[in-house]
Symmetry: C2
Subunit: 317 residues, 2 copies
């Protein structure tokens, strides 16, 4: 089968054998996958990943231990826990010490014709939801993670830094909780997508006033944290969503003096994400800028790094 | 009156006029003051402070708008709010936008014969409590601040980084909440003080296992944060107590991946601190290593920076 692989820093379309499911695992035929900024970071060396990239997908179950899954259209949670370690026992499978993560850590990913995931990770896609909408479930879930970690009041003033794919999804999700959301970015055309949904935006040259209750850093850049710290109010909350390969020079004294609360935030719950997509509470289609076939996956990855791209899709035939 | 002043980076004992209280303010004759690491940082340039140093003190009220204060022995909260700005209105006076802070920001401090504080900031010292115990109220309150900011369960495994004055007070306070406290430091003789109270300790060469529920960085060094991040469990809490002039190189991805919660922590509540000192729940006398008279305050500051010093006191005759 065709697979977009990363080996020793080199991206390549390779012919690979169809993978064999282990105990409790399902074989899924991928219909469509999405390129995430994390994929670009991995290609730059983040996590030292080696294998098939891709973790946003929608597919059809070809084989699974429980028969009822077979033939179902699914999305899948990307963290695969060991069920044994202390964090698994504490019901924190996302933080399993021996986890593999689809297309990110010790597990081949979704930019291939087939992938393997534990059956427990699967969620059925509602009938009538387009493939290209369903594959946003993983990043929308990551946005919903914030709502599990902090309380958001309808009066909270929220600034989201970053007008990229994740920043936009976070803005849309948090806008369901507070109307005082402003998304800050560098690209007028990207911000326009949020304006179309009634969400306020600002260009980086025209920052909103500091003193926000909640600031989310989704810039994907090492400087984002610093900017976020300058915008959050004393005793306010700074949510860190960027995973970047770079290190960042940080003046910690502002964090201490202002008693800021910083929360790292990663993967989230699929159920509310699927529901938001099904109900149209989160609008993803305008973010899709390109469709590529798997045979052009290397070009798709390149294109995803361009300033004129947002979500780039990779389709299997 | 004699006063230890910092001007253009130069520490000096100067003769200064006795200060005049403004509206709502009390004139306090200082009995005894303590040197804090923040004083040493200020002398190194932190906050660009200029004026009389010192914020840990016990004194006697000489004059005050409310007569009942006069002649009382007091300690005092160091943040002086404007009562007008949005943070004052939100009942966050410690974060007042126009605050002055005793001996730290726009207000002369306690290394002098007299100081001025708003009457609202005063707390009466219980009869029978020695001066040299009472003056620890401010740093003990800073330790108690943590208990206002996070929930501490009796089962939480807690690591405190730093065996200095603040680290030791934090270890003692948190030990009232959980017995699974370990304080990590570089000085066997300092750690011994905690061992004498039944609190576990470790030398930096022999770090406790990672995966702690709560890690407090009280190292006062820029690297403390990095070490703390390596010791806290996923979804665990990292409390930052160090205010340092230096910047820190930080790999934020670990914070995001492990969804760590970082909380900056500064000044705290005087009431529980005074109570803990009165009840003997926090033991401070063994931490006092030197007594100086105000006329030798410059030497006292120097001595406080030596490895063989812990709390250095400055007495007014």
């Amino acid at each position: 089968m065709p697979a977009l692989t990363l080996e020793n820093g080199k991206l390549e379309l390779q012919e690979r054998p169809v993978p064999q499911p282990g105990r409790g695992e399902a074989l899924i035929r991928v219909l469509c996958a999405g390129v995430c900024n994390t994929d670009l970071e991995l290609a730059r060396g983040y996590m030292n990943f080696s294998g098939t990239l891709g973790h946003e997908f929608v597919g059809v179950v070809e084989n699974s231990p429980s028969e009822h899954w077979i033939g179902k259209r699914v999305v899948g949670e990307i963290n695969c826990p060991c069920h044994e370690c202390r964090y698994c026992q504490l019901e924190m499978p996302h933080h399993c010490e021996r986890r593999s993560v689809l297309g990110i850590l010790n597990r081949n990913g979704a930019f291939a014709q087939y992938l393997i995931l534990p059956e427990d990770n699967l969620h059925q896609v509602p009938r009538g939801m387009a493939d290209e909408v369903a594959l946003f479930c993983e990043p929308v879930a990551a946005a919903y993670r914030i709502t599990e970690q902090i309380n958001i009041n309808p009066d909270d003033r929220i600034i989201i830094l970053g007008d990229g794919k994740l920043g936009q999804l976070i803005a849309q999700v948090l806008f369901l909780y507070s109307k005082k959301v402003v998304c800050v970015g560098k690209h007028a055309w990207k911000l326009k997508l949020l304006n179309n949904l009634g969400i306020d935006t600002a260009l980086v040259g025209d920052m909103p006033a500091p003193g926000a209750d909640i600031v989310v850093d989704a810039t994907g850049s090492a400087e984002g944290f610093h900017t976020a710290l300058s915008l959050v109010r004393p005793e306010g909350t700074l949510v860190l969503k960027s995973t970047v390969a770079d290190k960042s020079q940080l003046d910690l004294s502002a964090l201490v003096i202002n008693e800021v609360r910083v929360i790292g935030s990663r993967c989230g719950p699929f159920r509310p994400a699927l529901e938001a997509l099904a109900m149209g509470n989160v609008e993803v289609r305008p973010m899709i800028t390109e469709h590529y076939n798997i045979k052009d996956a290397v070009v798709a990855m390149e294109h995803a790094g361009f300033a004129n791209a947002m979500k780039v899709l990779i389709e299997m035939d």
